[in-house]
């Protein structure tokens, strides 16, 4: 993930007379561009260029899907006034809660499971694979599966009512105060394998003697986990925090599949990207009321916010990781 830990020494370093070397390097340079060009073209045309145009487009007035005239910050003013402001704030808080939920719960459970697998048998690759398995499922499958499980009078209700835990069907997805938490839980279930594997890689990279020493000193397993393992896997924590952040603020699929593009019920699970999608493309595919100017403004703010936060986080944590080591 890190963008600034890249070593450059790689090419042959055979001693050569100076002038000769320079010609070799220049030839390299030209050949290098030829190898680089195809990837660079596709990357710039289909990713960088639309991204930059979107940022600039937020300053334009839009009719349909075409920019019409320059309007300065008008889109931003409209985005933060009246009903739009409420919708943005609403969606923003859902993303924040999503982020906190994933950051804390998913990574804590992931660390716990990874630590158990590490201590008790990292060679149990079966469990690593099993815990990662939901991550290879499509969001359509995950969403449909959990909708079936949670449907009123469905399997979960059947079990809970059979055991006498509840007397009437739960409506977790239809209830505005629980729906968002259900989606976050489904997301955690879906991606738990990610922190497990990242933490395991971090733990396996440590010197086993550290743990042996802790054990001989009589440190409890809890103390070993929190005072030795956690500080030493700081780089993993950084990676995971940034990933949790990026993924939480990009949420679209699970909301779309489980609660619809409106983030129902009554916008209780609306996220910034579902709101963006409605503004840009309408509520039903390409029909419905759209306001592309607003979408561009929302996209620009989110883009700057996300790139700035993850960039700063990587920078800050990388420095800290270097200090610890």
């Amino acid at each position: 993930m890190s963008t600034d830990t890249v070593a450059t020494e790689s090419d042959g370093t055979e001693p050569m007379p100076k002038p000769r070397k320079r010609t070799v390097r220049r030839a390299h340079g030209l050949a290098g561009w030829a190898f680089l060009l195809p990837a660079l073209l596709v990357y710039v045309i289909f990713l960088v260029y639309p991204m930059i145009r979107s940022l600039l487009g937020s300053l334009w007035d839009w009719r349909g899907m075409r920019a019409q005239s320059f309007t300065g910050l008008d889109n931003f003013t409209r985005l933060f006034s009246g009903q739009n402001a409420d919708l943005v704030t609403n969606a923003f808080w859902h993303n924040v809660l999503w982020f906190i939920g994933v950051l804390v719960v998913q990574n804590m459970i992931g660390l716990l499971l990874a630590y158990i697998l590490f201590v008790r048998g990292a060679r149990w690759t079966f469990f690593q694979n099993w815990f990662f398995f939901p991550a290879i499922l499509s969001p359509v499958l995950v969403g449909a599966l959990w909708r079936l499980i949670l449907t009123p009078d469905g399997p979960l209700d059947g079990v809970l009512m059979g055991m006498g835990i509840t007397s009437e069907p739960l409506t977790l997805l239809g209830n505005g105060s629980t729906a968002l938490w259900v989606l976050i839980a489904v997301d955690i279930w879906n991606w738990i394998g990610l922190p497990i594997l990242v933490f395991l890689a971090g733990l396996n990279a440590l010197n086993p003697e550290i743990f042996e020493a802790a054990r001989l000193d009589g440190a409890s397993s809890g103390r070993t986990l929190f005072q030795i393992a956690v500080p030493l896997v700081t780089p993993s924590v950084t990676t995971l925090a940034v990933l949790s952040f990026i993924n939480s603020f990009n949420q679209f699929d699970i909301v779309y599949v489980m609660q619809g593009v409106q983030g129902g019920p009554n916008f209780a699970t609306d996220t910034l990207v579902t709101f963006f999608y409605r503004l840009a493309f309408g509520a039903q595919g390409s029909v419905g009321i759209t306001d592309v100017g607003l979408a561009m403004a929302l996209g620009a703010i989110l883009f700057i916010f996300m790139t700035a936060v993850s960039g700063m986080a990587l920078r800050f944590f990388n420095k800290r990781a270097e200090m610890i080591q």
């Binding site: 090419d11 680089l36 990357y43 630590y115 690759t125 991606w191 990610l194 395991l200």
Partner: protein, 270 residues
């Protein structure tokens, strides 16, 4: 250290938490909707393949599968080709731009691509790439390149210089050096890129949702997501389709889980 019993209980609990929904998915494909409601957790009354036949025939499942296969294989091949080519100068040349260029590609791991969808949509329209598999392949390649170049250039950097020098003495040019010397050395990285591209492209439904209007051109996730609406109450048929759609990746994962674990460990991916 960790006392055995609670530790094992935690592992067992999460194993079940994943196992029970997957069990439910599997048995539901053999049941009618009524049976799913009345007896969700039990084994099906009869192991009939009706739901699978229904999904395959009536829901155009075969068309979606073919489309997904074309787009996924196309994206994997193009991503690998372009990433191998680009990683070669980035990791093996002493050019001043090697590191900045890697950084430029890695930015693609951080930026939220979906927020550019309006401009991307217009670009695709102007290029005549809407409603086409080639269009999807190009967009997926652009979004997967950062990860592919990250992994491939990391592995390529570790290839010993001696190998390269020996090949040069034999008169190998850049292309032969890359293809016959470096690429075989970074085979694990090629594996990692292949699997993660396969997972990302096979499962994606955001870009088909934007760019594909012709029902005949839909990929599996898009086809099945419209299916969710259409057959929303016909759970058995829906799950038969979903189960079939996940089988190729499940099989791939079965044989390549080692590379998946390595790939995630190498940098975290999604």
């Amino acid at each position: 250290m960790l006392s055995r019993l609670p530790a094992h209980a935690v592992i067992a609990l999460w194993t079940l938490l994943i196992g029970v929904p997957l069990y439910l998915l599997t048995v539901s494909t053999f049941k009618s909707t009524l049976e799913i409601y009345q007896n969700p957790l039990g084994l099906p009354e009869a192991f009939t393949l009706d739901n699978f036949v229904e999904a395959w025939v009536r829901a155009d499942f075969s068309t979606y599968s073919w489309n997904s296969l074309v787009v996924t294989v196309g994206s994997i091949l193009l991503t690998l080709l372009l990433a191998l080519l680009a990683s070669y100068p980035i990791s093996r040349f002493r050019s001043w731009w090697a590191t900045p260029m890697l950084g430029f590609f890695l930015l693609g791991l951080l930026v939220p691509v979906r927020l550019a969808s309006v401009e991307l949509f217009m670009l695709m329209k102007d290029l005549g790439l809407l409603n086409s598999h080639l269009g999807l392949i190009l967009v997926y390649t652009a979004t997967r390149l950062p990860f592919a170049i990250f992994i491939l250039s990391n592995f390529m950097r570790a290839v010993p210089v001696e190998l390269e020098e020996a090949a040069r003495l034999d008169g190998a040019g850049h292309v032969r050096l890359l293809w016959s010397v470096l690429t075989p050395q970074v085979r694990p990285a090629v594996g990692i890129v292949t699997i993660f591209t396969a997972i990302a492209v096979w499962n994606d439904f955001y870009f088909p949702l934007l760019f594909i209007f012709d029902p005949k051109m839909r990929t599996l996730p898009l086809g099945l997501s419209t299916f969710v609406g259409q057959y929303g109450t016909d759970w058995g048929v829906l799950f038969a389709g979903l189960l079939l759609s996940m089988l190729p990746l499940a099989l791939l994962f079965l044989f390549t889980s080692k590379q998946v674990r390595e790939g995630v460990g190498a940098g975290g991916v999604k």
